[in-house]
């Protein structure tokens, strides 16, 4: 956390407006209204749809950034702005400090060939190509020789566990297998920024969990920057380093999974986390008091149940059920980094359970 990582993606004041005259309408609305909310209201008034409203965020290199929201909240539109499948109506989108909104067509093709990869909800596989040809296609457009690109394709096909199915056609595969092809295809060109648009939403729950785990393993290996879209809060909490929650085109909260669960900014976000077993997701780190908080050093009782800051609340509570005094929390190196009151742990779990 302390190491200052480079920003892989930066979005500044990104708007995507649909309607009859989006450019002019947005310009007028921004000119006449001081806040983004007012401008968005004015746009709706004039029959336009602000599908993305004034999005501002950064994604660090190697970070897994999840954008979550209900259908129609603009999350798919936002990821298409960032990958420039849609031209953003307004704003700056930097990928490795290069503005993708202003990039020439030629430069865009260049970036997509070498830097960007994308996985789609309904897979987007080419029906007339075999698995191997599908996966090798990003190399084919670059003019890589056939034997070479098929060899590379085989590597990623192995990585996603589809070896032996290279010559099948997409229609001969199950949903889970199809998405593995989609993932393999997006990885074949060694992208550094990876977009996943609800990649597991079309799959049934068991396959979904299996693919999520494999996805985390792949991410562990590759360490790419990831923008991941989902409407499933559990999926978001399981995968994300940070989550952005969208509603009606607006990003209402950005935070770590425990931020979202423990400190929802409004009822909409709270509604999402309602079904979530909080204790399983929130880490002790997000709850403990540090020396800075108390201003008076770390005061704790005599008992030390051996809590660490990366424990979940459930785990922590299990260890100090019978304790009433504040207890110390240890960092990775074993030093005491904070204190927590067992009563607070219990009450944190009580919130929203009613």
């Amino acid at each position: 956390m302390t190491v200052d990582l480079k920003n892989a993606i930066t979005c500044q004041n990104v708007w995507q407006v649909f309607g009859a005259t989006p450019d002019q309408a947005l310009k007028d609305a921004l000119g006449q209204h001081a806040t983004a909310d007012d401008a968005a209201a004015a746009l709706r008034e004039s029959g336009h749809v602000p599908a993305v409203q004034d999005a501002n965020f950064e994604v660090k290199e190697g970070e897994l950034f999840v954008i979550m929201g209900l259908s129609g909240s603009g999350k798919s539109t936002l990821i298409r702005c960032i990958s420039h499948l849609l031209q953003a109506t307004h704003g700056k989108i930097l990928i490795d400090d290069e503005d993708i909104v202003e990039a020439s067509d030629k430069r865009l093709i260049e970036m997509r060939r070498h830097k960007l990869g994308m996985v789609f909800q309904h897979f987007g596989l080419f029906p007339h190509m075999t698995v191997a040809d599908n996966v090798a296609y990003p190399l084919r457009v670059q003019g890589v020789r056939k034997s070479e690109r098929l060899a590379k394709a085989r590597e990623v096909i192995d990585l996603v566990g589809l070896e032996g199915r290279e010559d099948r056609f997409p229609r001969e595969l199950s949903g889970g297998q199809r998405q593995r092809v989609g993932i393999a295809r997006s990885l074949v060109a060694d992208c550094s920024v990876w977009f996943l648009d609800e990649p597991f939403s079309a799959l049934d729950p068991l396959i979904r969990r299996q693919l999520q785990d494999e996805f985390l393993q792949i991410q562990e290996k590759l360490k790419t920057t990831i923008v991941f879209i989902t409407h499933d809060i559990n999926e978001a909490l399981k995968l994300a380093d940070r989550i952005a929650i969208m509603r009606d085109g607006k990003i209402v909260q950005i935070g770590t999974p425990s931020d979202i669960v423990l400190n929802p900014v409004d009822d909409y976000v709270r509604e999402f986390s309602k079904d979530v077993a909080k204790g399983q997701h929130a880490k002790l780190r997000s709850m403990m008091q540090t020396a800075g908080d108390t201003g008076a050093g770390l005061v704790h009782g005599a008992d030390d149940p051996g809590l660490t800051q990366d424990m979940t609340i459930d785990e922590a509570l299990a260890r100090c059920m019978s304790l009433y005094e504040p207890v110390p929390v240890h960092g990775a190196d074993g030093k005491v980094v904070g204190v927590v009151n067992p009563a607070d742990l219990a009450s944190a779990l009580q919130v929203d359970r009613s």
Partner: protein
């Protein structure tokens, strides 16, 4: 029902009022019935002059193109004719094997054997040569237009409109300007069939490209493909199934047009043979030549149809090459000993027998055939055409229609109508009045103010103000051009035919929906009727009923009834399972389910079938001019014979306006129903 009147009711009320006024004043003001010649504009002449000048401008280029095209055509003709028939047979059999395995191979063998035995091998090859040159031309043009419309969103709308117009303008109407441009001869047929066959290809290419899942397109973009790579490596291959549907339709359209084009550019091809023998009254031979066309049509349709199948089975290519090689070997071994293909004509006696049998049949059954024809003519067609007041004569009906009877008719209609209106069915009451009025006056003598108001009202309730204005303006242009009476005649004939198709076809579709056994019989007949080129329909009808309006009526029905049957059945059969289960759970009987659940759900589909039937009827109307119809069809045909571009184009446009209007109105109603059902 006592609340606000619907648009439809208001329009019907207006039509009733205008109609009544017209009836009242028709004695005083004869211009209500026949639009005075003094009020017409010489539109036809203007079109003629304008088009003539435009055509003169591009004529040199066209003639150049014509010369250019005659080379590939001559080569194709020479090639197909010079090649010994065993070789061609081998190639066709190989194609049959590759596209459909043993069944297709057998079909191809039987078909080609028939062509050889019919004695029309040479003419058949000439026709195929024309198709072979025109289809690639049409495919390239069509694919180009389709891709262009896909790539440049701005031209998409205009391209769609042009394609729509090209589909509604009758085939003969194109021929006149082409005739002026390219002169008499086979090249006109070639160009006409290329133009006629391009739209289906363009439509299907565009449709296929637009129907690709957006994510597939996005995946191609994200892979870093250039636009060209996306289009040729991903989008076109992904759309291939739809594009193959286009190829199939394009082939069939070209074949159909090549035959029709024989009317202007006959040159020893099969279309010319049909036309010639038909004109001479040699029906046996005419039928034989017609059967050759049907064989070609079936083979081309079934073979190219398999290309459009989603998952086509693979057949060993070695066997295909083997068949070609076998054909070549036989051709070499028998070189010089085969003689003329006409030596193999073995069906001459059959032709004679058909002729003799036909004569015997018609003389033996003359009584009831004539009775059928005359009854239909005197008691149905004629009254609808010129109205009861003129059609009811002592000579046919046994008594004379008097104006008193008209009063009785109107009084009766008035009573029924009043009853309906009182019981709340205002629309029904008004429609009864309109029908009574039309029956008394006759469709071909409808007062034009009434026709304009009625058409406008219908368009208004189907598609809103814009459509109403458009249709009234278009109809007014027919009026001003002085083509009104002919247009009414065409409207009348297509109208009764469509009505007959709707009743008979709807009935057959209903029975087919209820009884799968019936459908097993009806389906192949429908397939057959849809494969046969327009022209061929005329032959058997002509054989039995001779030239005349009744024959044209039958020909139109035979051709246009198919969509009505298909769509009615499809609509009724495809009701969602849950709705059926809901009805069963409510305790509905089979028939209750049919009328309460299936029929309302099927209404939009059935309306779509009606729409297709209307378009088919107009297409056939023009062809039927060959065997005696009056009206616009006849004008178009006459214009073709006189190379009168003005008349040909104007009458063609008038016909297209009628078809377009009917098409849009029915589609409007279908759209309404779909929306009401939430589809």
């Amino acid at each position: 029902m006592t609340g606000a009147l619907t648009t439809g009711t208001k329009a019907a009320a207006l039509a009733v009022i205008v109609g009544a006024l017209c009836l009242l004043f028709e004695g005083l003001m004869p211009w209500i019935i026949s639009f005075p010649a003094a009020w017409t504009l010489p539109l036809t002449n203007w079109v003629g002059t304008g088009a003539g000048e435009a055509l003169a401008l591009i004529k040199p280029t066209a003639r150049g193109f014509s010369d250019l095209m005659s080379y590939p055509m001559d080569w194709a003709k020479l090639g197909l004719n010079a090649a010994p028939w065993p070789l061609i047979l081998g190639v066709v059999l190989a194609l049959g094997w590759r596209t459909g395995g043993v069944p297709m191979l057998v079909l191809a063998a039987v078909g080609m054997a028939f062509v050889l035995a019919s004695g029309y091998w040479e003419q058949g090859m000439n026709t195929l040569a024309l198709v072979a040159v025109s289809v690639p031309l049409a495919l390239i043009m069509g694919a180009g237009i389709g891709i262009l419309a896909n790539e440049v969103p701005r031209v998409r709308e205009p391209v769609q409109v042009v394609l729509d117009v090209m589909q509604t303008v009758p085939t003969f109407a194109y021929l006149t300007p082409l005739l002026v441009l390219f002169g008499f001869g086979p090249v006109v047929g070639l160009v006409a069939s290329a133009i006629y066959a391009a739209p289906p290809m363009a439509r299907n290419v565009l449709l296929g490209l637009q129907r690709i899942e957006p994510e597939i397109k996005e995946a191609a973009i994200m892979a870093g493909g250039t636009r060209r790579q996306q289009l040729f490596q991903i989008e076109l291959p992904a759309a291939m199934t739809q594009i193959m549907v286009g190829v199939n339709q394009s082939l069939m359209a070209a074949l159909s047009m090549v035959i029709i084009a024989a009317v202007i550019g006959g040159f020893n091809d099969i279309g010319w043979e049909v036309l010639l023998t038909m004109r001479k009254g040699w029906f046996g031979q005419s039928l034989m030549a017609g059967m050759v066309i049907v064989v070609f049509a079936i083979l081309i349709d079934r073979m190219s149809g398999t290309l459009a199948q989603e998952r086509k089975p693979q057949f060993d290519s070695r066997i295909g090459w083997g068949l070609v090689a076998l054909g070549a070997i036989v051709a070499v071994v028998t070189y010089g000993q085969l003689g003329e293909t006409s030596d193999y004509a073995m069906l001459g006696p059959v032709t004679k027998q058909v002729d003799a049998g036909l004569t015997a049949f018609t003389t033996a059954n003359a009584d009831w055939l004539n009775a059928l024809k005359n009854n239909a003519l005197f008691y149905v067609l004629l009254p609808i055409r010129i109205g009861l007041d003129q059609a009811v004569l002592p000579f046919t009906w046994g008594f004379m229609w008097t104006s008193q009877m008209s009063l009785w008719l109107f009084a009766g209609a008035g009573v029924v109508s009043a009853g309906l209106i009182v019981s709340g069915r205002v629309m029904g009451g008004l429609i009864v009045l309109i029908i009574a009025g039309i029956l008394e006056t006759g469709v071909s003598q409808l007062p034009w103010p009434f026709a304009l108001v009625a058409a406008g009202g219908l368009a208004w309730s189907a598609g809103g103000r814009k459509l109403a204005l458009l249709i009234v303006a278009l109809l007014a242009s027919i009026l001003l051009a002085g083509l009104w009476e002919r247009a009414l005649l065409s409207f009348y004939l297509s109208g009764v035919s469509v009505f007959a198709c709707a009743v008979i076809g709807g009935g057959i579709g209903l029975i087919s929906a209820v009884s799968p056994m019936t459908w097993k019989v009806v389906r192949p007949v429908c397939d057959m009727l849809q494969t046969i080129p327009l022209f061929v329909f005329l032959i058997p009808i002509l054989m039995v009923f001779q030239i005349g309006e009744f024959s044209a009526f039958l020909a139109i029905i035979a051709y246009a009834i198919v969509p009505m049957i298909r769509y009615t059945r499809q609509g009724l059969v495809e009701t969602p399972e849950e709705m059926i289960e809901g009805a069963i759970a409510s305790g509905a009987t089979k028939w209750q389910m049919l009328f309460h659940v299936r029929a309302p759900y099927a209404a939009p589909t059935i309306l779509l079938g009606l729409n297709q039937t209307i378009l088919y009827a107009f297409a056939m109307l023009v062809i039927a001019a060959l065997i005696g119809t009056t009206g616009l069809g006849q004008s178009i045909y006459l214009a073709l014979n006189k190379a009168d571009v003005g008349l040909g184009l104007s009458a063609g446009a008038a016909m297209a306006i009628l078809a377009f209007g009917a098409d849009r109105i029915v589609q409007g109603f279908a759209e309404d129903r779909r929306k009401a059902l939430g589809l």
